[in-house]
């Protein structure tokens, strides 16, 4: 495990584009929360409405939800580091040099986990920073949303991974990643629920949506998702999807010509 991470580390350590992208993402995480925070202040001036509560304990959920809007960016990074290997044919070279196929893809899975941990770390730091600044105190109440946020980002990243492994080309994988996440999941889910089942059911169980409901918007979440499954069901399904993405990525990489 450590050896695999070390090899992945050597690959990204001097990769400027990777660090610039990651830096912008981390900056973006703070910025998007700061904008929401300012927006909340403006709203409060006019109406007593807590759209984006940045005080403990609600701050965890607010920041987890706001931050989830940016999950496409670490997803793109994930696609980039995998499709790079295909572009440079270094996925072949790594195997030729003595990695097993499983070791190689496990390295990528570990990278996905690392990116997810980095995301979660900065979500947490933002939550503590904003929470402490606004509340003038510190609290761990509601921190379960950080855990949900971790599950959510892992699911997004591994979805990005399976797209990269299946499609090999970064442009195509990134396009499909965005198109599916932003449009087609809603479209397919909405179509099945509204036209076939006539109730909100199927949509909630789709791979990205299931983690989205895990971290619902801090305002009106109960209204929008009033018939959503229980949290433990959502958690279980999220982990199931994560496992499925990993399983097929490993399988594809182990069985086929590289």
């Amino acid at each position: 495990m450590v050896k695999l991470l070390h090899i992945e580390w050597l690959k990204v350590k001097n990769y400027k584009a990777f660090w610039v992208f990651l830096g912008l993402y981390v900056l973006g995480l703070f910025s998007v929360n700061y904008i929401a925070y300012q927006f909340q202040i403006e709203v409060k001036k006019n109406v007593p409405l807590d759209l984006f509560p940045y005080s403990f304990p609600k701050v965890y959920q607010t920041i987890a939800w706001i931050s989830s809007l940016l999950l496409y960016f670490p997803g793109m990074l994930m696609i980039l580091i995998i499709s790079n290997e295909y572009t440079f044919k270094t996925h072949r070279q790594n195997i030729i040099d003595g990695s097993s196929r499983r070791e190689f893809i496990t390295g990528k899975i570990l990278m996905g986990l690392m990116l997810s941990l980095i995301t979660t770390l900065f979500v947490t730091l933002n939550a503590w920073g904003f929470g402490a600044a606004v509340s003038g105190k510190f609290s761990l109440e509601g921190i379960e949303f950080i855990g949900y946020s971790f599950v959510q980002s892992t699911c997004y990243l591994f979805f990005a991974m399976i797209l990269a492994v299946l499609l090999r080309k970064s442009g195509l994988a990134i396009t499909i990643f965005f198109m599916y996440g932003l449009i087609f999941e809603q479209l397919i889910g909405g179509f099945v629920d509204n036209k076939i089942l006539n109730k909100h059911y199927f949509f909630y169980y789709m791979p990205l949506e299931v983690t989205d409901i895990l971290v619902p918007m801090p305002f009106g979440g109960n209204m929008f998702f009033k018939d959503a499954p229980e949290t433990y069901v959502l958690l279980f399904l999220s982990l199931l999807y994560i496992s499925i993405f990993c399983f097929f990525a490993v399988r594809k990489f182990e069985k086929e010509d590289l």
Partner: protein, 299 residues
Amino acid sequence: MSVPVLSINKLTKKYGNITALDEVSFDVPSGSVFGLLGPNGSGKTTTLGIVMDILKQTSGSFQFSGKMPTADTRKNIGTLLETPNFYHYLSAQKNLEIAAAIKGRGKNDILAALEKVNLAHRKDSKFSTYSLGMKQRLAIASCLLGNPDLLVFDEPTNGLDPEGIAEIRTLILRLAKEGKTIIMASHLLDEVEKVCTHVAILKKGKLITAGAVDDVLVNEDIVEVSAYDITNLESVLLQLGGHFSTLKQVGNNFQLFFSMGKANLAEVNQHCFNHGIVLNHLQLKKKSLESKFFELTNN
């Protein structure tokens, strides 16, 4: 006989209806420089790709030194397959550090490997700034990491200028002298002729022949003679005895086929003169490996 370094047994690879490799079997003896020869698309790279686990065979098997292959086996083989594959955004040094890490080795011999291919002075330049020849040499440097006993080179002189080609040839011969086994795929016969001890010839995925170079690519010396008295020339030549294998008339010339190095022009001249024939044409022609190769692959 010692266990072959690599033993390939009925290896077959199909892409849908196309059979890229058709029950190919051969052994690579220890310490040999083994040339895998064939025209483009004959299955050379496919064979090596399967052996390196980047392609999956449809059927058949292969063993390294009598053992089933594992990832660890590959750690002790230096392989250049098809093209130099490196991270474009990293320097030569950093790229080799990754290869060394995968092979489970330290960074100690990276500089030595770069020096062997004359790249040490550019070790900190990004791979993307390298010329084709430099990329190829970096790939060869990567093969030399950890001083493996088996080296696999797929078209090692691809993209090199004549000087670079000569350098690589010298390097291969030096490595062979050190007792290393080298498998080299090439469509350049000249290259194989100059360095290989053994050869396997592939055509359209089928193995045509395999064995020691001297057996497979028997080279012959051809002595071409002519005289005004062409009718008597033939009978006189036939009296030359069992030195040559065949006598062939080509136009106004006769061709005598000798095994390599056995033709003695002075002796032929003397013999004819002694029998009253004055030659007006006497020439030694080397039968090229190329024509031999075409002969083998065109049947």
